[in-house]
Symmetry: C2
Subunit: 365 residues, 2 copies
């Protein structure tokens, strides 16, 4: 079956631009149904508002490109010759005045190569419109997300069972990563965060080789498997050996915020309304000064994608949207708590694709 790129042509028409460009990344993979890597070799598909698409393909990818049933002109180039001539031929062939690109994915050297080939080409960042096509998940997408999440939850269970006082964050991280692959991950969705004690108070902490976990520590794990091209993104925070009264109260506050997100979500709600409800719970608590992040982000082929769940984003969430509900409270130098679920928006509410229990867990380890 020849490749159907008509959705992208429609985006070009909707935006009033002459063509949409895709470069290797989640939209490209979705469009061509094969994985191509983003590297130092420019690789681009241009889908005009009207007419046939064209592609600029590194010569050494041509045999893999054969697997893509692409109907349109293909301009290849060899490392030895450079890519300038291929860009010149491509732009001459297209004869366009404006091009919508994925601003979060396309790199500056491709932008410059396009402008060098056609200095008057108007390049528009249409990240939201292009990647927006991925917002409503299909049945296959949701099955892939569920598979990624189930692998991640089994890996978390294994990892928590193996935690011992005195292990370094780095050692626990290694156990988690190995468990992800042992459970069937095809890749990691992102480099995991495994952070204990004061490290848990940094939203994007990196595992330390020189910090050994202690009784009373919060241990925050934020991680996910990739399966069939889709990402899981889960956070759980547990306490080691015991939890102080303050820890329990902070945990309970974050959990109430997380549950509020589940409660308010249904098709038609805006990203703003979800964040307002979730963050409102945190703000009403004695820990309002520990808020550092928005509620979450869309999840799919990319671990961070639209919609961004934050105040000021009045984008409506249709049924089929999947987002992360991940409120947290972080006190610098002390500890942090985050509880993150992956939520599927449905017509009459929502389903948490994450099933791992969210109740307070104190590990006797």
């Amino acid at each position: 079956m020849p490749l159907d790129l008509s959705e992208y042509a429609r985006v070009a028409r909707d935006l009033g631009v002459d063509a949409v460009a895709l470069v290797p990344g989640p939209n490209f993979t979705r469009a061509v149904k094969h994985l191509f890597m983003s590297n130092e070799r420019p690789f681009l598909i241009a889908v005009p508002a009207h007419g046939e698409p064209a592609a600029l393909v590194p010569n050494l990818e041509l045999r893999s490109w054969d697997l893509v049933e692409f109907e349109g002109a293909v301009f290849d180039w060899r490392d030895q010759d450079g890519h300038d001539a291929a860009f010149a031929t491509l732009t001459a062939h297209l004869g366009i005045a404006s091009l919508a690109v994925e601003g979060q994915i396309m790199r500056v050297f491709v932008h410059h190569a396009l402008k060098k080939a056609q200095p008057n080409l108007q390049i528009i960042d249409a990240e939201a419109a292009i990647s927006g096509l991925r917002m409503i998940k299909t049945g296959d997408d949701i099955a892939a997300l569920r598979a990624a999440i189930e692998i991640s939850e089994r890996a978390l269970e294994r990892t928590l069972a193996s935690v011992r006082l005195g292990q370094s964050e780095k050692e626990i991280e290694q156990v988690l990563i190995q468990a992800l692959f042992a459970e069937g991950a095809e890749d990691q969705a992102f480099h995991p965060i495994v952070a204990a004690g004061d490290g848990s108070a940094r939203p994007h902490a990196k595992a330390r080789a020189d910090y050994r976990v202690r009784a009373g520590d919060a241990l925050l794990l934020d991680f996910g498997a990739r399966k069939h091209g889709f990402c899981a993104d889960i956070t759980r925070t547990v306490f080691l050996d015991h939890a102080t009264d303050e820890a329990r109260d902070v945990y309970d506050t974050v959990l109430r915020a997380n549950r509020k997100g589940h409660e308010v979500t249904r098709a038609g709600i805006t990203a703003h309304q979800i964040d307002d409800a979730v963050t409102g719970v945190l703000e009403a608590s004695p820990y309002a000064d520990r808020i550092r992040t928005k509620t979450g982000h869309g999840l799919g082929r990319d671990v961070h994608e639209a919609p961004y769940i934050m105040r000021g984003n009045h984008q409506v969430l249709p049924a089929g949207t999947v987002y992360t509900n991940e409120p947290g409270l972080y006190q610098i130098g002390n500890f942090g708590v985050r509880i993150e679920d992956d939520i599927l928006v449905t017509e009459d509410g929502c389903t948490s694709l994450t099933r791992f229990p969210t109740g307070l867990q104190v590990l006797k380890c």
Copy 2:
């Protein structure tokens, strides 16, 4: 010790531009000595040719940024407010007319945010000069590369010992990935290529779940661990059960090309000269029509970096350069062979950091 960014100031002066910008990626990690992720939030350091650097930091990264002993102005921004005001303040503070950027790393949305804040700002792609600072490896860099390579070689040994006829490429890939982490990888350097039979003839093949390896197949494994931020990149091609005379002759040709690369390499040689010598061996063989790739690329924090080892690149390789020597021959529909070593250029020759034997291996499996 405060962060020393003077090398980047010197690049700005050498290029005759007012400042150099770094965004999360290998140069950024090298510069600030901490790992920050590239995501939807712009994050940027500007190092002027003269004077103090400045940084634009997402608010939720500030607590991690504290670990970087950065001396200079910091402009942070919150998701809810967007980043436009921070870019405007940054550019006003810098007061520059031109900015050199990493064209292979910076994405178009950051380019556009800079141009929106200061429409007359001249943005120059200085990828070669900025990333070029990473070309000569330090002792620590080489130790990290050796660690990554040793992990990779142990993982390869484990994987080859477990290969059985009838396994799918995907199953073998999973064994390889698990072995990498079991041997101590902190990440994969890139998604591995595990390709058998006709798949081995595609230089960038992806492992198939529906192809089961057969007696007589070539099995090509191209993979690497990441350790201490540095990448291994190794390829070995073995034959399963038996190798035909043609397979043996092709293998021998590729091995002679690979050895030629080792023989000719010493400080002062150009990338062109290495590729010419290596590819020359392939061209002189009966299999010249199976050549699809250049000889290789630099290796370090990035799995593909300067210098690119190809004809036409007259860049001189100084001692301390590390590159991949990876000739290959690929016959579509039949099979491919690639043998890839990671080579350290020295004053009087070179050292292969890869020690895994390169002789023809026929697995009895």
